[in-house]
């Protein structure tokens, strides 16, 4: 297959069981959505890894860039009060 005619790339998300969310498990090539779903079933769920699959065209994903790492994520680093564990649980509220 010539490079210019490669099948598009798809990102695959699998839900391991009911109640859990879909997790990204990898990617694959396929000519269309239906085939991508079939391929995902064959490549990523043959050891009973899942009960539901999503495939998303990789081109449709907007991702943060490593260059934006500092402005995006650095400001959260010194704000420990955003974690619930920062606060002491008041007396009498044991099962909070």
């Amino acid at each position: 297959m010539s490079a210019g005619r490669e099948w598009p790339l798809w990102e695959v998300f699998v839900r391991a069981k009911r109640g859990l969310s879909h997790n990204h498990v990898g990617s694959l090539h396929a000519p269309d959505a239906r085939t991508a779903l079939g391929n995902a079933r064959d490549v990523y769920t043959r050891r009973q890894e899942g009960v539901s699959i999503w495939v998303v065209p990789a081109a449709a994903i907007t991702a943060s860039s490593p260059d934006e790492k500092d402005p995006f994520f650095e400001p959260a680093a010194d704000k420990v009060y955003r974690h619930p564990t920062f606060y002491e649980v008041p007396e009498g509220a044991e099962h909070l």
């Binding site: 297959m1 099948w7 694959l28 090539h29 396929a30 000519p31 239906r34 085939t35 079939g38 391929n39 079933r41 064959d42 490549v43 043959r46």
Partner: protein
């Protein structure tokens, strides 16, 4: 313990027949391993091969159990055959698979057309076999019917994509259909064995599967913009004989590759 009845012998032969179909096609598909046109398709074909191998193991094991459990006079037989004995130590004339499954992989279009033709037959068969009076055959069919439904879907999708694709893919899949079509008639030929077993509520009269098969495959071919060749009485060349152990020249080579390790090193294990 009751004696082995004529029905037991029939059930054993029937399980071998169904098992041989699955085993030979599994071996054919395994030849594609690492050679499919795309990595994703490589894994898909291996998955199908492994599904078929699982069915073959269950069926051949069962066939061996029946023939081993009760010899004449109800005496347990010595040297009953295991699944491995049946798979690796029978000669070509003792295999009773249909000739369709032993046909070479050819190009990808041939591999997919063969899969569609066989899987559509197997799906119709297993759907009926789940109601078999024989609990083991019914169990194998119930498990297999889900696997085979996917095989049909996968192969059918490719036949449509190739047929309704480029000029080149259309030409190739049309040639594949023409090449393999004659071998599909054998799938629906009833013989004395299927007649007796259908009568006993154990097996399926294969001629009854033809209508469902024709409808299914005809629908796929039409969607693929392919011509459906003549079927039934109007068909031309109708090779047959696989159920009696008469095969095309291809099966011998397949068995040589499949069996040589076991025959060279009896009892070899991973």
């Amino acid at each position: 313990m009751r004696n082995e009845t004529p029905l037991d012998t029939d059930v054993s032969a029937y399980a071998v027949r169904l098992g041989d179909d699955a085993l030979v096609l599994a071996q054919r598909l395994a030849e594609c391993s690492s050679r499919a046109p795309a990595l994703e398709e490589d894994i898909a074909l291996s998955n199908i091969a492994l599904d078929l191998l699982g069915q073959a193991r269950a069926l051949l094991t069962y066939a061996g159990e029946i023939e081993g459990a009760r010899g004449p006079g109800g005496v347990p037989r010595q040297g009953s055959r295991s699944e491995d004995d049946l798979a690796y130590l029978r000669s070509e004339r003792e295999f009773t698979n249909c000739q369709l499954v032993e046909q070479p992989n050819g190009d990808f279009a041939v591999t997919m057309a063969r899969q569609l033709f066989f899987s559509a037959y197997q799906l119709a068969l297993y759907r009926r076999l789940v109601a078999s009076a024989d609990a083991t055959l019914a169990g194998v069919a119930a498990k297999g019917v889900k696997e085979v439904a996917y095989h049909v879907d996968h192969a059918g999708g490719w036949v449509v994509r190739l047929g309704d694709g480029t000029d080149e893919s259309h030409r190739r899949v049309a040639a594949a259909v023409e090449q393999l079509w004659p071998f599909t008639h054998e799938l629906f030929e009833a013989d004395e064995l299927t007649g007796r077993l259908a009568g006993a509520g154990v097996g399926v009269d294969s001629s009854e599967l033809a209508i469902a098969w024709k409808e299914h495959v005809g629908g796929v071919l039409s969607e693929a913009t392919l011509k459906c060749p003549p079927f039934g009485e109007t068909a031309g060349w109708r090779p047959a004989g696989g159920r009696r152990g008469v095969h095309t020249e291809h099966l011998g080579f397949l068995l040589a590759e499949m069996q040589h390790l076991h025959r060279s090193h009896p009892g070899a294990k991973w």
